[in-house]
Amino acid sequence: MTNMTMVEAINLAMAHELNADPDLLVMGEDVGMNGGVFRATVDLRKEFGRTRVIDTPLAETMIVGTAIGMATQGLHPVAEIQFMGFVYPAMEQLICHAARMRNRTRGRLSCPLVIRAPFGGGIHAPEHHSESTEALFAHIPGLRVVIPSSPLRAYRLLLAAIRNPDPVIFLEPKRIYRAVSQPVDDNGEALPLDTCFTLREGSDLTLISWGAMVQETLKAADHLKQQNVHCEVIDVATVSPLDRRTLIASVCKTGRAVIVHEAPRHCGVGAEIAATLQEHCLLDLKAPVKRVTGYDTIMPYLRQELRYMPSVERILSAANEVINFGS
């Protein structure tokens, strides 16, 4: 069991499956010799060769479209999109084909691929390198959308994504690629792909988050504990399909919820969760479900990016509003 960062855990999961599954391919821009711009695929080329770890031309439509074609032949491509901000040329292929190949052929062909993309802000990157648009994918029936928030969950969820027979969008919160380390056992054990993870149990307030924001949310929970507010902290992890049951159970218990995400608020995944919670917990709700999110404006360049993203302070302020609601 080695202590490792999330990006190392992701690398490990790919290496594990490249060994276990002869049909697995890793492809994308700069994934080969360079080992990926974040080093997520480092050394894979050396170990598995250029036929299995493939540098592609610079064309995201083609990367995803080609991966779809490969997948119909029973290969299992893991395609890296260098940054989530560059996945949009592939939207047509994802929406019209990856998500539909199985349904369109009534199960004759399928699309067992994984699209990996680093996402989110906070690392002082250039324009387009910092957005979070998971909601766009979550809205597409036929796609799974998975977001790890710790090295161990990254390893195990990526294994699950690779082994899943359907297309998975696997979004990697790059702000915490190297921010936290954790022992990860390379035992090949996968997690389920449609459950939330309850990171802390609590009775007063449910804090719901995913990706890099889980770190801020946990910090907020620490602060609140000092105020004697006991938070249940849930890492949603699979934003589609969503594990509504866990979320509903928690909020029906605590009666209060704050949802935290980096993406803009309007029509973000937080909206879906809030809508679900009011539908199923209305009579238990002691306060409105609040959302702490990126603003509904363009993610600023690096000088101001931290002003845009939810901070511990903003989470605390929403939590206090919810706790003091009506009083």
């Binding site: 439509t61 479209g65 074609g69 119909t72 032949q73 004759r108 449609d194 399909p241």
Partner: protein, 360 residues
Amino acid sequence: MKQKYEFSVQSHRFINSAGKALMPLPARYADLQLLEQAYEQMVLIRTFDQKAIALQRTGKIGTYPSVLGHEAINIGAGLALHQEDVFAPYYRDLGIQYLRGVSFVEQLMYWGGDERGSCYAKQPEDLPICVPIATQFCHAAGVASAIKFRQQARAVLVSGGDGSTSKGDFLESLNLAGAWQLPLVFLVSNNQWAISTPRYLQCHAETLAQKAIGAGIPGVQVDGNDFVAVHDTLTDALTRARTGHGPTLVEAVTYRLGDHTTADDASRYRSQEDLKKAWEEEPIKRLRLYLSSQNAWDEKREQALLQRCKVTVEKAVADYAAIEPDVPTAMFDHLFATLPEDLHDQYEELRRQTQEASHD
């Protein structure tokens, strides 16, 4: 210092519109059997096509894109493919699909709005019809990559229209096919129109075949109304692909003799004269004239063929009519390999409502 790089594109035609061979046909057509078979298939496809249009008019199927004028391309390509090759069609490839084993019933189901039409009982690997223009080129590149990865001696044929050559996916795939030297043949059915947009508004280049040059792969133009030109060129290109000699782009020049689809009215945007001129070039007549000139065809055989085609098509239509609609919950059955728990409620709701509706 000045250096000059030179490139070229060949254009092939063997049989002209009067049914006359412009030069000796390649050896594989010496025995006329292949040409007779091709002719029969072309007539069958046209018979089915006319029936399908009629079925749309009476509401038995939905919007349908006629292949009128594409018969030589369809049958030329279909006969050039091997069973173990993979075909990635677009929506005007009825005949290629038919020769691949996709039945007329499946085709009617597809155009009739029933997803089961893409099950392709006899053709497990071919891709389904791709509605978003040009996206199929990328899939085909992926299939060809898989074939290359597994070192199989198979080729992939992917097909699209002249309009599709303007879209990025086509060009990105062409480039990839060159960079990776894929066993992939691109077939562009240049029928002069993308709905109402004429070929010259689509692209300023003299030929569409020359798009291959930018990808560093061979490009060839053929007379798409000449079965021999289509079949011969594709046969060679597919052989090269199967034997590790890389990709080819083939532009087959024809004319869309019908409306774009049954939802279109081409008389809004093109002249009767142009259409009349195009009819002189149409593929079926010229092959019949050639076969007749070789004493391999006559009116009696023609009538017998038409009768056979009619029976085949009528049988397919009857079989299609007998098919029960799918259960509505099928829309969930193939969404994922297994339905996620999160969707059980919606599945139940649909099932319940369908039952209620059927009890009304």
